[in-house]
């Protein structure tokens, strides 16, 4: 296949294009609470043709086997980088942030599937339930009765409130935190929600601050962990790599045109 250099360069163009999409998505979500940036994993595609010609090598050279030509590059997938975003003080009573690993659990309608999120910008529904900005209920549900004042959320997730005529605060429930062996394996389904996959492993649900789970901080929100400078550098890199690969396409194209015209 004499034109396969074209196809090799094409794989390079496609991979850089996918990378650009991921970078664009990271930048677009820079203001999304609890968003985790994705990193693209490139991998070399398999080689073709194989003639054994192994020889003694020095440290600087390793002898490849005969004429084996690479077929390019592929995007293996994306890894979501789970580093902590910055915690911003909002002063809002129902804003909670996780300081450390873990996720809040939300019931996603219509079938009550559990979605995991680190965006803790909760509000109260008309029925007094603690819900996400989409109006989805937390799991386990937290109900705030009529007339409750000054809701307190402790670092271990205990939710309590003051009621008129009572000195002691009443306990309304406890927020639970889910942790995963491999949180990077969770699948994003949009709206800040992630769902469990075979790659993430099963959820390990428990109290905040135990078994490696993070603590809950009331009145704070976790921002995205996207670093603008880093993304822009990546963007320039991807752009240049794309240009170089497209230059390769035109070079091979010229070679073939030349052969067509000359021979």
């Amino acid at each position: 296949m004499p034109t396969s250099a074209l196809h090799v360069a094409r794989t390079g163009l496609e991979a850089q294009d996918k990378r650009m999409r991921v970078i664009a998505n990271n930048l677009a979500n820079i203001g999304t609470a609890g968003f985790k940036r994705d990193r693209v994993d490139f991998a070399t595609l398999a080689y073709q043709e194989n003639r054994i010609a192994g020889q003694q090598s020095t440290n600087q050279t390793a002898f490849a086997t005969g004429l084996n030509l690479g077929t390019g590059v592929q995007v293996m997938g994306t890894t979501s980088i789970q580093s902590q975003g910055t915690l911003n003080q909002t002063g809002n009573t129902l804003d909670v942030a996780l300081d450390g690993p873990g996720f809040f659990q939300v019931e996603i309608p219509p079938n009550g599937q559990i979605g995991y999120t680190r965006a803790g910008n909760f509000t109260l529904s008309a029925q007094g339930n603690l819900v996400t900005s989409q109006g989805f209920q937390l799991n386990p549900p937290i109900q705030v009765p009529q007339g409750a004042r000054s809701i307190q959320i402790a670092p271990d997730g205990t939710v309590s409130a003051q009621q008129d005529g009572q000195a002691a605060p009443i306990q309304l429930g406890q927020l639970q935190v889910a942790n995963f062996i491999n949180p990077a394996g969770l699948q994003a389904i949009g709206d800040n929600f992630l769902i469990e996959t075979a790659a993430s492993g099963p959820a390990d649900v428990g109290l905040a601050g135990t078994f490696g789970r993070g603590n809950i901080r009331q009145g704070m929100l976790e921002g995205s962990n996207v670093n603008v400078v880093e993304e822009l550098v990546e963007m320039i890199e991807a752009q240049r790599a794309y240009e170089i690969n497209s230059r390769m396409v035109s070079a091979v194209d010229e070679m073939l045109r030349n052969a067509n015209q000359t021979l």
């Binding site: 396969s4 250099a5 090799v8 360069a9 794989t11 390079g12 991979a15 850089q16 994993d41 490139f42 991998a43 070399t44 398999a46 080689y47 073709q48 054994i52 192994g54 020889q55 090598s57 440290n59 600087q60 050279t61 390793a62 002898f63 490849a64 086997t65 005969g66 004429l67 084996n68 030509l69 690479g70 077929t71 390019g72 590059v73 890894t79 580093s83 690993p101 942790n179 062996i181 491999n182 990077a184 394996g185 790659a199 492993g201 078994f211 490696g212 240049r240 790599a241 170089i244 690969n245 230059r247 390769m248 070079a251 091979v252 010229e254 070679m255 030349n258 052969a259 000359t262 021979l263």
Partner: protein
């Protein structure tokens, strides 16, 4: 017609193969730890042994091979990811290849698979010094020390210091043959493993990029392109010579 066109054809073929290799190097310019390939073209001459030293061989078909892998170090970029490692010096990280044998790579973007196995971005399990892939116990938070030791912190005992799980096998390729196989991984030809290098160290939180020098590779690309065109021109000239010699002998 002279054999000239066949000589030129071998050269065209070698130039196109060189271009394919260059395209592959460029396509992998952003693949972490990628080691670029080196092309070499050798003339294969047939000489008369009796006149070996004095004969001038005018015809030497070219044979182009991907002959070497350039093992020089790529640039190291800090990423801040605790499980990214860049190997210092010339040691190689040992992985379990797709066929179960040991393969070597400088690619250190590590992560914990759902099974708990430590693997790199290509999905290859990392070999430990104990000779088996490193498995992280469920729920353990891990970090990697400078000597390649994987330290795990038991979530059930948060007060205890992190305990070593295993050390990543960092192999020395000093004096051993090494070849890039058809699956794109470096391995010992004919099977076998490289010895462990206890002195090798890594930089955690950094990633080694490919060692493809894009500007040099672009120059190579233009070279291959022009060489191809020159050989096409030789074939054209040979055709013209052939025509003129036939017209000399034409009975008109």
């Amino acid at each position: 017609m002279d054999r000239l066109i066949y000589i030129a054809l071998t050269g065209m073929d070698a130039a196109m193969n060189r271009q394919r290799m260059t395209a592959n190097n460029l396509a992998n310019a952003n693949t972490p730890g990628f080691r670029q390939e080196v092309f070499s073209v050798t003339p294969s001459t047939i000489k008369d042994p009796a006149t070996d030293m004095r004969s001038l061989e005018a015809r030497a078909p070219a044979r182009g091979w991907v002959r070497n892998t350039d093992m020089s170090t790529g640039s190291v970029n800090p990423t801040g990811q605790p499980l990214d490692i860049a190997v210092k010096g010339e040691a190689l990280i040992a992985f379990q290849g797709p066929d179960g044998g040991e393969v070597y790579s400088r690619r250190g973007d590590l992560r914990v698979a759902p099974s708990g196995v430590l693997e790199n971005g290509e999905g290859l399990p990392v070999m430990g010094e104990t000779g088996v892939p490193i498995t992280v116990p469920a729920g353990f938070a891990i970090n990697i020390a400078q000597d390649g030791t994987v330290l795990g912190r038991d979530p059930a005992a948060p007060d205890l210091p992190a305990a070593p799980i295993d050390r990543i096998k960092l192999a020395s390729a000093e004096g051993s043959p090494l070849a890039k196989g058809i699956d794109s991984f470096l391995k010992v030809p004919g099977g076998g493993v490289l010895p462990n290098d206890p002195t090798a160290t890594v930089t955690p939180g950094a990633l080694e990029q490919s060692n493809v020098n894009t500007s040099a590779t672009l120059v190579e690309m233009i070279e291959a392109q022009r060489a191809f065109e020159m050989r096409a021109r030789i074939i054209q000239t040979a055709g013209e010579l052939d025509e003129s010699s036939s017209s000399l002998l034409s009975l008109r």
